[in-house]
């Protein structure tokens, strides 16, 4: 169905035509009318700068410099294709040239398409790179989370081990009010919590020992917090001889192979 418009109706549409806001059927009707109506043609010219102004009123953004190069490259290829194009009437002998020219024209079109694709690919590659970075970051966070989870799980593993043993440690004359409790599993390690340990002198650290029938075996180093408390999970050698006791001594920083300092905590292993 075709809508018909009178002069007044068409004149009303001219302003919208000037900014390209008409439907295709309205546009066709106005275009046909403009050819015969000077008044409406003048109206269109009067509104023409409005469309331009709407574009100019926008925040202006510079295109990337690569775009200029790409556009000029297309023109260059297209010009080469154009120069290769033969005249309209071609003797049969020039048929191969016609084919060649056709190929060049096709090549120009293909070049434009290829360049468009190439820019798209570059854009996608950069997005892919960003996505990969995000994935790497995500994986890194997962690893951190897994390590945190593993760290949180380790004491639980010791506490729930079938071979876990509890050993209470009492303060010694060097620290009468200190106390500690250790849970030791030969298969999974040792968890110790302590309180009221004196602050460490400079260059010193607490060292935990398995006291065995033979020489004492180090179970690890301990650093209390500012209030003399600590909770630590230690990996202990599974081949340690059956301990008769656990002891904490004050030793040089870095630890020593066998105890040298005062005992601060001692607990008998039952």
């Amino acid at each position: 169905m075709t809508t018909t418009y009178d002069h007044d109706a068409l004149r009303e549409l001219v302003a919208l035509h000037a900014i390209g806001a008409l439907s295709p059927s309205e546009r066709d009707a106005v275009d046909a009318h403009l050819a015969t109506c000077a008044e409406c043609a003048a109206e269109l010219r009067a509104f023409a700068p409005v469309g331009m102004a709407l574009a100019q009123a926008l925040p202006q953004v510079d295109p990337p410099s690569s775009l200029r190069t790409a556009i000029l490259d297309v023109a260059r290829h297209d010009r080469h294709a154009r120069l290769g194009r033969p005249a309209a009437k071609v003797p049969v002998a020039y048929a191969p040239w016609l084919a060649a020219a056709a190929m060049l024209v096709l090549a120009a079109g293909t070049t434009f398409y290829a360049m468009s694709l190439q820019r798209r690919i570059q854009s996608l590659e950069s997005e892919l790179q960003e996505a990969r970075s995000r994935i790497d970051e995500g994986e890194r966070r997962v690893q951190v989370a897994l390590r945190s989870a593993a760290a949180a799980e380790a004491p639980l593993g010791v506490l729930t081990a079938p071979d876990v043993r509890r050993i209470d440690l009492a303060g010694q004359p060097a620290a009468p009010s200190a106390s500690a409790r250790a849970f030791w599993s030969r298969s999974r390690g040792l968890v110790i919590t302590a309180s009221n340990l004196p602050a460490l002198p400079a260059g010193r650290i607490y060292q935990l020992w398995f006291v065995t029938a033979q020489a004492p075996v180090s179970a690890g180093l301990l650093t209390p917090d500012g209030r003399g408390g600590l909770t630590a999970t230690l990996t202990t050698p599974s081949d340690v001889p059956n301990p008769v006791a656990l002891a904490v001594t004050l030793e040089p920083e870095g630890g020593v192979p066998s105890p040298t300092g005062d005992k601060y905590l001692v607990g008998l292993a039952n």
């Binding site: 700068p49 953004v61 023109a75």
Partner: protein
Amino acid sequence: MWLWAALAAVGDVAGAEIDRDLVRRMAAGEERALGELYDRHARLLYSLALRILRERADAEDVLQEAFSQAWRQASRFEAARGTVAGWLVTVTRSRAIDRLRQRRLQPEGVADIERAAHAIPDPTLGLDLQLVSAEQAVRVREALAALPDEQRVPLELAYYEGLSQSEISTKLNVPLGTIKTRMRQTLRRLRDALAGAVA
């Protein structure tokens, strides 16, 4: 009443003549002329395409298509039908709107997320002064900003989003006749704002 149009045209006469000369040289196959035309108008056209499509890669494609078309059709440009700049703006807008319509037909999904990621925040307002005078451009921007939403929104939906008047009517839930009236009023106001700058 129409004095302003003549004056505006006079103000733009030098630029328009430079553009026409460039198009003539393009028609003769001179690539450098295309480069000069690009330098004169790419910023304006890119800003328009970017506003419509809101994605840099798409805006770049549209500019490439528009200048490619200008290059191929340079010999067919008719000065009587308007300025080169107006022609470029029309071609760019029309290609950008076509692309926007195609996009609307596609299912929503990754492309929308991609666009959201590339959404361009409005930088400080800058004006390209090659086509209309600084005063005119400022007046139009001020006139646009001063418009009540009920007048500005339909115009923006028509010009920057390419919606038809009936689509705007549906989208805003306002009768079609009202939309038509408001848009005409708005365009007259902008035309008068342009006129005011040279009156």
